[in-house]
Symmetry: C2
Subunit: 355 residues, 2 copies
């Protein structure tokens, strides 16, 4: 597929259009609004692999196919002051994760720290949204989720366990929060979709082909190959990526009672775990900010490789992009995504006014 | 240096010998005993980079040089039901971390989950000990620590921030716990010391030399080079390793009030954070074990690369080795370590009876 230039789309229109698609399928207006805000936030921050590109194929289609329940009855089981489990009744993962993080924040206000595990949920987009929510409340936020079963364990040759994701956010004095948001595989599956859509080869160290051999062809991955764990080869730390994935599986899949990633039925079924640590349950918030500032200053003062103008803190580039794109009120989308929107609009009787 | 065969050392004698060295320096008997038990546990599990090999250079010498306080007065500040900070008064990190994890477990019994940040501590050996302690109490354990400032940030060319470590353990029905224990650099600094001691080259992807170039020479690292973050190159996930290191720095260095790794004075000064999640604050313990078993079964059933006889769960190999070595009551030590012991024994007037 040859590459086409991206189309610039107005975010307010995108918000209304996406809400209309979801409400046409029975999603309550408030849930549709929160879902679109969350997806658009990913695109604003340049996380195109987890944003509105998936609106139709992941969310609209899965509601139509019965994999996502548009009007779930979510229930909460509170077994201890600093923990809870939330059953999402197969609702949109965005709604479940926002609700669970809200609860974790409330519990952390009382206890200092709290974890909420979520079962029977579905794909929740990027994990940073929920971790950032805690950071905006003056807390350190943690969000982990099971991912699709597309990762090969060290010593294996087929996709077996989930591209589970660990996301962390922490407030700073700067115009950005520290944000770690990464799958525990070398890359997220979405990066291979982007390469395929854009007709690009992938670097060695990302994936194995359907026969278990190293590959640079994103198509061979989509034919049934698998992603490598973060670290890549065992001597470069693949066991750490594997272990981090199991850590995410334990917190989300196992503690929620749903089952680890490899036990899940696919079609976006997911378990999550959201945690919040209230900073001033450890030390005065101002003192915390001073410590963060010293860390950031120290990292930025590091001697750089030739051609590198600045050491970037994880989350910094994304915050900068978000400011620019919010000011413009627009995000770039690949033409194929727009074509998918047009078709879905016609199918669901929703007016199409994005371009 | 040419390689010599390892010497097999009786663990009971090693325990007594190490205790004698530490008590000769003023460490209370109970603290010396717990320190040696912890160090020997690392060797029993094959973690030779974090075991008794460092007894003299890290612990004995640092007590002699005044970097480690042999008789600290540790204090605890409990600001919320599920959190606390512990000031270790520059005592041995082993004692501080065991005490902090004991407190986290006690708080998690009440609240379901708890975090204890530790400041003014020192090198605590391997992180798995403390996470395993929670796992043995029916909890998911987490232990993070700052490490020495030997890691190069993405885009940098000099060692700048800490080889911070993330350790996680979770109970299973099997004869092993799940144990993730890895530095957030591609490898721990200890692996380069082992390569140097054994006269081996290191793989590409571990380190940069003192000029910021890729190297396979462990000596050039020790001359001032730096370790690469987990992931190695930016396109292979180095930003994830970097972000995980900052996560560990935030929990341990910043939340404890001590400062992130790059703010620490060196000589083993360290901050930690210990957390425990009580499984039955989320779901019945039996149901948890069933979920873990399904995960382990599924991973073990993965199709394997040729020549691989078994998919190993992180922590499995170490538990197997520990069983064997405990049965034999002995661990292998490099001859250079024994020579160092002999010299320290003579210096401190402690009888040497290990070989």
């Amino acid at each position: 597929m040859s590459d086409q230039p991206d189309v610039t789309v107005d975010t307010a229109k995108l918000q209304r259009f996406g809400e209309a698609l979801l409400t046409a399928l029975g999603v309550p207006a408030a849930d549709a609004a929160l879902t679109l805000e969350t997806l658009i936030e990913a695109d604003l921050r340049g996380v195109e692999s987890h944003g509105v590109a998936h609106l139709v194929d992941f969310y609209v289609r899965r509601i139509q196919q019965g994999h996502v329940n548009p009007r779930p009855t979510m229930t909460i089981d509170e077994r201890a002051p600093a923990t809870a489990t939330l059953d999402a009744d197969r609702g949109l993962g965005f709604i479940a994760a926002h609700r669970a993080m809200d609860l974790a924040i409330r519990k952390a206000e009382a206890c200092g720290a709290a974890f909420v595990a979520v079962r029977n949920s579905t794909h929740y987009g990027a994990g940073f949204h929920y971790a950032l929510k805690a950071a905006c409340a003056g807390m350190v936020g943690l969000s982990v989720t099971t991912g699709g079963n597309i990762v090969v364990p060290p010593g294996g040759r087929k996709r077996t366990y989930g591209a589970n994701v660990i996301s962390v956010a922490a407030p700073t004095r700067r115009s950005f929060c520290f944000v770690l948001d990464g799958s525990t595989s070398a890359v997220a599956g979405g990066k291979l979709e982007i390469a395929r859509r854009r007709g690009l080869a992938i670097p060695e160290g990302w994936a194995l082909d359907e026969f278990g051999h190293a590959t640079t062809d994103p198509h061979s991955f989509l034919r049934g190959g698998g992603l490598l764990p973060l670290g890549g080869a065992p001597h470069l730390g693949a066991y750490k990526g594997f272990g981090l994935a199991i850590f995410a599986d334990v917190l989300s899949g196992v503690l929620s009672g749903m089952g680890a990633s490899l036990s899940l039925p696919g079609n976006g079924a997911a378990a999550h775990c959201l945690a919040a640590l209230r900073v001033d349950a450890f030390l005065p918030f101002d003192q915390y900010l001073v410590g963060m500032e010293a860390m950031i200053d120290g990292l930025k003062a590091a001697e750089r490789q030739q051609g590198v103008s600045e050491i970037l803190i994880p989350g910094e580039l994304e915050a900068r992009l978000e400011q620019e794109r919010r000011a413009r009120g627009a995000v770039p989308l690949h033409a194929a995504i727009i074509a998918g929107y047009r078709a879905a609009a016609a199918e669901l009787g929703v007016p199409f006014d994005l371009t």
